[in-house]
Symmetry: none
Subunit: 250 residues, 2 copies
DNA sequence: GCAAAAATCAATCATTTTCATCCAAAATTA
DNA sequence: TAATTTTGGATGAAAATGATTGATTTTTGC
């Protein structure tokens, strides 16, 4: 049984029954426990389910509020610093792409409102963008609940119609060898496409993010910068040495 | 039986009956007394129940059911009635289009969740649809702030890729001569296109809505129904005489 | 009311199940 | 063919489980 088939089956079972046991999945798919475990790990990384001892469970609807721990923490402050730096890169008249993701959302309050056009696949961004009266386009496609992102074949086709001066990407992690990474292949494809449609690409990464499906090998980023902070000299070396990208400390 | 399943079962039983005996839980879950005791200890720590000698009991004190606040306005009640009627028209396996608008939003809680696919241009719908785990696609295009609708050339192009079994339209008004009306030409075009892509079309209109740019002449609706209520006999005559549409009173 | 009997309890331990990790074989791709 | 990806099995660690023990609480019989 092929990987996408198994994933689909697992998700369907979880949707129906709420929980599913690993052994049942092994029997059903006629594969090994190892394989099912890998599947579950991947699906959990993509925020499609929650692993529990003995199997997996549907994760309940709302993502919990950002807990105090995180809200007040250094992490948020960092995110905002980076976001502000990134937003200042946008010039009046620019057409930009904003990737789905919480770090990118933080950019919106700092964007120059006049005369810019924003295209996004992030449902979370829409409200904030409209409140600032920014001309906003959303790409069409499948709405993924967990990340509030538009993904899928349709989304790729929809995205193809645009060109951007700059695009801004969130990442789940940065891997020295594989580039910027995100756990979900579908989201990775969208990111890749957006980068290819953009004159300049920027990756927003706070240093908590410093490994899964690479959505852009560093070589694919023609003109790009990792916008981050508190990167130590070793890390800087690692990334800058591989290509011509800039590492900016906000 | 997996731990979360047992926990869920225990909580459900306690919710229903107020108290539950350990031995009953042992029999029901086919596990050992030790396991149930551990479960109860954990659930008590999480403040989900109170342990008592021989079992566990619901803890009183807090969460009350939703208050009176919501269920007054007659208009809302009407809208909901209509919405519920419309939602019942959707069958499992249907692919449907939901037009942007508050009346249509009301349909979502009543939709059969299984196996349906929803396409929409209504940003307001997305959250509710995703919460119900309904496969949701949004069309791409310009995000209009006032109505939280996706519109424009891009939206039309995006919409073209779909076909629907049924589509559900909100309207601003109904005009005897011009048909269903909406004030915005862009939105009207989207509506018209959706109707042309759909095997059956339904218009949701409470009687406060019974005249600007017609988005669909009655003749354009092949198979369609106005779903409304408290329509008087004169009005009924006016609309039914013009074409084969049905007027349904919810 | 009181003591014996019964039931329930927390704590501990051995067993079983599940887990992450590693490695080699198979399958797929270049 | 070589290189990469996917798979399945093996390993020891970690977690969950079930039985046992003796203490504590409740019930029973008087």
């Amino acid at each position: 049984m092929l990987t996408p088939e198994r994933h689909k089956l697992i998700l369907q079972l979880i949707k129906e029954k709420g929980v599913v046991k690993i052994q049942d999945l092994v029997d059903l798919t006629e594969t090994s426990e190892s394989t099912i475990r890998r599947d579950l790990t991947q699906l959990e990384e993509g925020k499609y389910l929650k692993r529990i001892h003995g199997g997996a469970a549907r994760l309940q609807g709302k993502l919990q509020e950002p807990s105090m721990s995180e809200k007040s923490s250094k992490s948020l402050h960092q995110k905002r610093q980076i976001a502000q730096y990134a937003a200042n890169l946008v010039e009046e008249g620019d057409s930009i792409y904003l990737d789905a993701g919480s770090t990118v959302t933080e950019m919106i309050p700092f964007l120059p409102a006049k005369e810019i056009v924003v295209v996004t696949n992030g449902l979370m961004h829409i409200q904030a963008l409209m409140e600032r009266n920014i001309k906003t386009f959303i790409i069409g496609g499948f709405a993924k609940e967990q990340t509030k992102a538009i993904i899928g074949r349709g989304a790729l086709a929809s995205l193809e119609n645009y060109r951007f001066d700059k695009c801004f990407m969130g990442v789940n992690g940065i891997h020295p060898q594989f580039g910027y990474t995100t756990p979900d292949q579908d989201e990775a494809m969208i990111k890749q496409m957006a980068i290819s449609l953009s004159r300049e690409s920027f990756v927003l990464a706070d240093d908590t993010k410093f490994s899964e499906i690479a959505f852009a090998k560093i070589a694919d980023l023609h003109t790009a910068a990792i916008i981050t902070n508190e990167l130590n000299e070793d890390q800087k070396e690692t990334y800058t040495s591989k290509t011509t990208i800039k590492v900016v400390t906000a």
